[in-house]
């Protein structure tokens, strides 16, 4: 029988993990628990009186049609962002994997957008698509499209989707390229000898073999679209026009800091938190099983 190895008890291991534990407690667990506590309160707009109401904030949300609409919009937005940025990244990585000359330059250039802050990325797109000044509305006018994301909700939605997806392409590209380069060269050569052309090789071999990366990026991109796109939406549309681009995380901000409904806002963020935890669990539990390693 194997005996467990005993180390003399000492403070050292605890000290070594302490920074990590403290950071988690202070920056994650504490704010999260505060949010849960806040979601049980109703406060007046001036912060003078506070009342403990249990789940009233939640039941109000459940019957609020505007909130439910935001839900659907968020899902649409996230799916579009994830699909768009992941497929664009996959395509670019597929090409980058094939080239030899200038590969490093090409890769470096493709990674740059990731370093752009979300608000700046948003600002870039606002300028490019400004209905009066922007270059794209000018071009679109030639094909008969009257672009105005200040008035047209679908235009606004498209714009934030593009901006959010564009910013995430670099990140996805990096992971896809790494995954593709870890596929043994001889495997692709074997496929070439078997008679598969470049497109066929991509779909038959490269795509299935990078599926673990696709799965990982799916989780990351979903979380990104749910949370990190706040800056872009704030810079581009501020949730407008007529709430057409208000996604869950933007509504949390809007209700809490603009509408000063702190309890309702906290309740929304608790729902968001539960949602993301659930999403991650489901993805890891069920999607991962179908992934070919």
């Amino acid at each position: 029988m194997l005996k467990r190895v005993h180390f003399p008890t000492s403070l050292l291991p605890y000290l070594l993990v302490a920074p990590q534990v403290i950071i988690t407690l202070v920056f994650f667990v504490w704010p999260a628990s505060q949010a849960v506590y806040q979601s049980f309160l109703i406060e007046d707009a001036f912060g003078i009186s506070t009342e403990f109401v249990w789940f009233e904030n939640f039941s109000y949300l459940a019957s609020d049609e505007q909130y439910l609409g935001t839900f659907g919009r968020t899902i649409f937005f996230s799916v579009c962002v994830a699909v768009l940025s992941m497929s664009a990244a996959l395509l670019l990585a597929g090409f980058a994997d094939r080239i030899v000359r200038g590969a490093t330059t090409y890769r470096t250039l493709l990674i740059w957008p990731y370093a752009v802050a979300p608000v700046l990325a948003g600002a870039l797109w606002v300028f490019m698509f400004n209905p009066t000044l922007g270059i794209f509305p000018y071009i679109l006018e030639f094909v008969g499209i009257d672009w105005n994301h200040y008035l047209n909700g679908s235009h606004a939605m498209m714009l934030v989707i593009f901006a959010a997806a564009w910013k995430q392409i670099a990140y996805n590209f990096l992971f896809y390229l790494a995954a593709m380069q870890s596929i043994p060269r001889s495997l692709i050569e074997a496929a070439a000898i078997d008679g598969a052309g470049p497109v066929r090789r991509f779909w038959d071999h490269i795509f299935p073999l990078v599926s673990p990366t696709t799965f990982f990026l799916l989780v990351i991109n979903a979380v990104y679209a749910f949370f990190d796109t706040f800056g872009i939406i704030h810079a581009v549309t501020q949730g407008g026009p007529a709430n057409a681009t208000t996604i869950l995380v933007y509504k949390v901000y809007n209700d809490g800091f603009v509408g000063l409904d702190l309890g309702g806002s906290a309740a929304q963020s608790v729902i968001l938190m539960v949602l993301v935890i659930a999403m991650t669990v489901v993805q890891f539990r069920y999607v991962e099983r179908k992934v070919e390693y």
Binding site: P184, S186, L187, A190, A191, A192, I193, D194, G195
Partner: protein, 351 residues
């Protein structure tokens, strides 16, 4: 089935030439082994035949068709890779059927051909497994199976056995040979293992530093090595080389002793003697001061130096031999077993 012709083949990466004017004619149904040390260009040469490397200059033809600008898929070849390169996300059956599926062969025929190939290689019961569920030897068989279902004109093997353990390697070596003879497909086999090369090949192409040193049957290479390199590379333990001076059929060694033979040479030469050709003989001219014995059971390897010099020399003697360290043993060699090489160019001096 087809012959392969290589004409004045050159491969260069930028300014660096790695293969220098390779010539070779491979007959229909022959198994050619390309052998040489690491970095000699043997895999590059094979990959050029496969179409995985571009040809800098020269010409490769398969059958009577020049294939220089053909895609690998259009050359009608099959290749077995060192790491097998099986598709990890496909079952054994799908791995073997993949090439046929791309060529749009009917499903019934694919099934039949996969079944046949699996029977030949005895992997029938693994058809629905994934490659990762197989052992090294089984993967090797699947890789071979993938090659033979295609029924190609040429098989290319890139060190296919180097990832297997010694015992399995010997077994697979025989199987590859039997399979190749049975199917009669022209094959090129790359290896750095000279034993593998000797036992497998109809003919051997010895490459060194991008040059073809010699191209001939295993016995030709053993009996009449064209260069010092081939002489040292083929045969185990490798040939002894002694500097000597030839005058009128008498070879004078470094310690003044002389051996008769090689009356076709004159002046400074390198004398090559295989360890197994040194015969223990009390009156022999070659005196070796003993340093160490290696007992191999069937024979004994005696390591020493030519008495009075520091030329290392190895003799292989039958049975068990022992003698004190530092003692001197005498050996003789038959004149027909002497190999004479030019001392400067290293080329064999022909009779």
């Amino acid at each position: 089935m087809a012959s392969i012709t290589m004409k004045d083949l050159v491969k260069a990466y930028g300014d660096v030439e790695v293969l220098h004017h390779v010539e070779g004619e491979i007959e229909d149904g022959e198994l050619i082994v390309i052998v040489g040390p690491s970095g000699c260009g043997k895999s590059t040469l094979l990959r050029m035949v496969a179409g995985l490397e571009t040809i800098t200059s020269g010409e490769i033809s398969i059958g009577d068709k020049v294939v220089n600008n053909l895609e690998p898929a259009d050359r009608d070849i099959a290749m077995v890779f060192q790491n097998y390169a099986l598709y990890p996300h496909m079952s054994v059956r799908e791995n073997m059927a993949y090439g046929l599926k791309i060529r749009k062969i009917s499903k019934d025929e694919i099934d039949q051909r996969v079944r046949e190939a699996a029977d030949i290689l005895e992997i029938g019961q693994y058809l629905d497994r994934k490659p990762r569920q197989l052992s090294g030897g089984q993967r090797q068989r699947v890789a071979m199976g993938r090659a033979i279902v295609r029924n190609p004109q040429v098989f290319l093997f890139d060190e296919p056995l180097s990832n297997l353990d010694a015992k399995l390697r010997v077994q697979m070596r025989l199987e590859i040979r039997k399979l190749q003879q049975r199917l009669g497909v022209t094959s090129i086999y790359v290896t750095h293992d000279q034993v593998e090369a000797m036992t497998l090949g109809d003919r051997l192409m010895v490459l060194n530093g991008g040059y073809v040193e010699q191209f001939g049957t295993p016995i030709e290479l053993y009996d009449r090595p064209a260069t010092l390199f081939v002489a040292g590379f083929i045969g185990s333990p490798s040939m002894n080389f002694l500097p000597a001076t030839a005058t009128n059929g008498l070879l004078t060694l470094g310690n003044g002793a002389s051996v008769t033979g090689a009356n076709h040479a004159n002046g400074a030469i390198t004398l090559g003697i295989r360890p197994e050709h040194l015969v223990h003989d009390e009156n022999g001219p070659i005196k070796i001061s003993v340093q160490m014995f290696e007992q191999l059971g069937a024979n004994t390897l005696m390591h020493g130096v030519l008495d009075g010099t520091d030329n290392d020399i190895v003799a292989s003697m039958p049975g068990h031999v022992t003698a004190g360290e530092g003692s001197v043993m005498s050996f003789s060699v038959e004149a027909s077993n002497l190999h004479v090489f030019d001392a400067t160019s290293g080329k064999r001096i022909e009779e």
